[in-house]
């Protein structure tokens, strides 16, 4: 019995099956050409379409109607109105908050519409449109907990936040120990179960929660100065940002932003 033929057959089989997989992978994952997108003035991911990243799990800004219906929300409609003004189709890509900036950096989206607060850190890496939401951050605690009455009181306390959010930074800066969670629903659960002392979030999120859950036993004990949220772009998108700003200015003048605020919050939150 000779060794050589067996080895050769084994090799042949091995090579063949690896080749099959490689082929299958290539044919299913034809790399999207990055050249095709670069031929319009805005440098869009997909020509003629504004590709928008949003969570889809952050009511009332971006969520699914009734839980499993269409994507709706204040930010979603603002983005739709902007795309409409620019004469572009719109395509939403839903992604988790913690991966949303990675996707923008990797050139998978043109813009993030997800209540991104403007802060100096982010301004180093990203471009922002003019703000479309102005609202304060709040410290939320359980009713009757009088040990926290300001951001300073968070020193040494435990809060629940999603990792890359502005609120996470606010809590850390205040000296809190931060537990990382997926979103508002989990943060509130931890708070109500007494496993964390507080959570920091957008005032509008809190008000919406009260509207949906009138018997919630939570209280706001502190507010920051209002922060501004804006559409977020990578640094190379100057032409697009300029066009988006013009669109937002028109939408503001026409009262569209105010209307959308009324629809989702009962008030204009755009200034």
């Amino acid at each position: 019995m000779s060794r050589a033929p067996r080895v050769r057959t084994l090799l042949g089989l091995a090579a063949a099956s690896v080749a099959v997989v490689a082929l299958a992978a290539c044919s299913s994952g034809a790399p999207a050409s990055s050249e095709a997108a670069g031929d319009d003035e805005y440098g869009l991911v997909k020509a003629g379409t504004l590709t928008v990243a949003t969570e889809g799990t952050y009511p009332p800004f971006t969520y699914h109607e009734g839980g499993a219906g269409d994507l709706v929300g204040y930010d979603v409609e603002v983005a739709e109105a902007v795309a409409d003004k620019l004469g572009l189709e719109i395509q939403f890509e839903e992604t988790q908050w913690d991966a949303i900036f990675a996707g923008l950096d990797a050139g998978r989206f043109d813009v993030i519409a997800n209540q991104v607060s403007i802060n100096p850190d982010r301004e180093e890496d990203y471009l922002f449109s003019t703000p479309y939401t102005v609202s304060p951050s709040v410290v939320v605690v359980n009713e009757g907990d009088d040990s926290i009455s300001s951001f300073e009181d968070l020193e040494g306390k435990t809060t629940a936040q999603s990792l890359t959010s502005n609120f996470y930074q606010l809590a850390v800066d205040a000296g809190a120990n931060v537990e990382a969670v997926e979103g508002w629903a989990q943060a509130v659960a931890l708070l109500e179960q007494g496993r964390v002392d507080a959570t920091v979030n957008d005032k509008l999120t809190y008000l919406d929660y009260l509207k949906q859950t009138p018997d919630a036993k939570l209280a706001v004990v502190a507010e920051t100065d209002p922060s501004e949220s804006a559409l977020t772009f990578t640094k190379d998108k100057t032409a697009l940002v300029k066009a988006v700003d013009e669109a937002l200015a028109e939408l503001r003048d026409e009262g569209v932003l105010a209307e959308l605020g009324e629809k989702y919050f009962g008030e204009d939150v755009s200034q």
Partner: protein, 220 residues
């Protein structure tokens, strides 16, 4: 809306997320991963140092790093070298590579479990080594590898929930959407878990049928 009503209303969207996302993702990845695993297993068994070295290295990387990182490298990392792959293909590639690493070891062990005498028997009746492998050894190895490979497949079904992090809408992503809207995340996640379980029950009974069928190939 009562919790029961919510659970009831969520059932079809969740199930649909499973049928249109989770299952195709798992089946496609497992099929590709299995082909890859057979190749890697044979490389690992080969006497060629280079080939077995490559196979060892690949298995080591796949088994030694978090699946989430593997998904991220393919989806978020590749664009930096000019290769941008859509969410679905990215997920299938990552899961196939992952299955390839784990299943390769299962297949290697299964091949080695077939008694050496079976090779001799093949040569005695004039079979070439290649024929012996495909006609004699692999069928018997297949029977041995069904339980551990079923394990790999059932794990994969649940691992696909990670694809929600690279823009693939599968059952767990649907659960997150409903949970965010209703804020009843525990209820909805448990409901999704029950549907995963349902899928896995179906798969387990498939495993039993397959085992019975393959019993024919086992020398008694």
């Amino acid at each position: 809306m009562t919790e029961w009503q919510l659970a009831l209303d969520s059932f079809w969207p969740l199930l649909w997320g499973g049928i249109s996302g989770t299952i195709p993702l798992a089946v496609a990845s497992f099929a590709l991963g299995l082909v890859l695993a057979l190749g890697v297993a044979l490389m690992r068994l080969s006497r060629n140092r280079v080939l077995s070295g490559i196979a060892r290295f690949y298995i080591s990387v796949i088994r030694g790093t978090p699946l989430l990182v593997q998904l991220f490298v393919i989806f978020y990392g590749m664009p930096s070298i000019g290769i941008t792959i859509d969410p679905w293909p990215s997920a299938i590639i990552a899961f196939s590579l992952n299955v390839g690493g784990y299943a390769a070891e299962v297949i290697r062990a299964a091949i080695l479990s077939v008694p050496k005498g079976q090779w001799e028997a093949g040569y005695t009746i004039g079979m070439s080594p290649g024929t012996t492998l495909t006609r004699l050894i692999l069928p018997q190895a297949a029977r041995v590898s069904v339980p551990p490979l079923s394990n790999t497949f059932i794990s994969l079904v649940k691992d696909t929930s990670l694809a929600s992090l690279i823009l693939v809408t599968e059952m767990f992503r649907v659960a997150q959407e409903i949970a965010a809207f209703s804020r009843e995340f525990l209820l909805i996640y448990i409901e999704a878990a029950l549907i995963y379980w349902l899928f896995c029950l179906v798969l387990s009974s498939g495993q039993n049928l397959l085992e019975k069928r393959l019993d024919r190939y086992v020398a008694h």
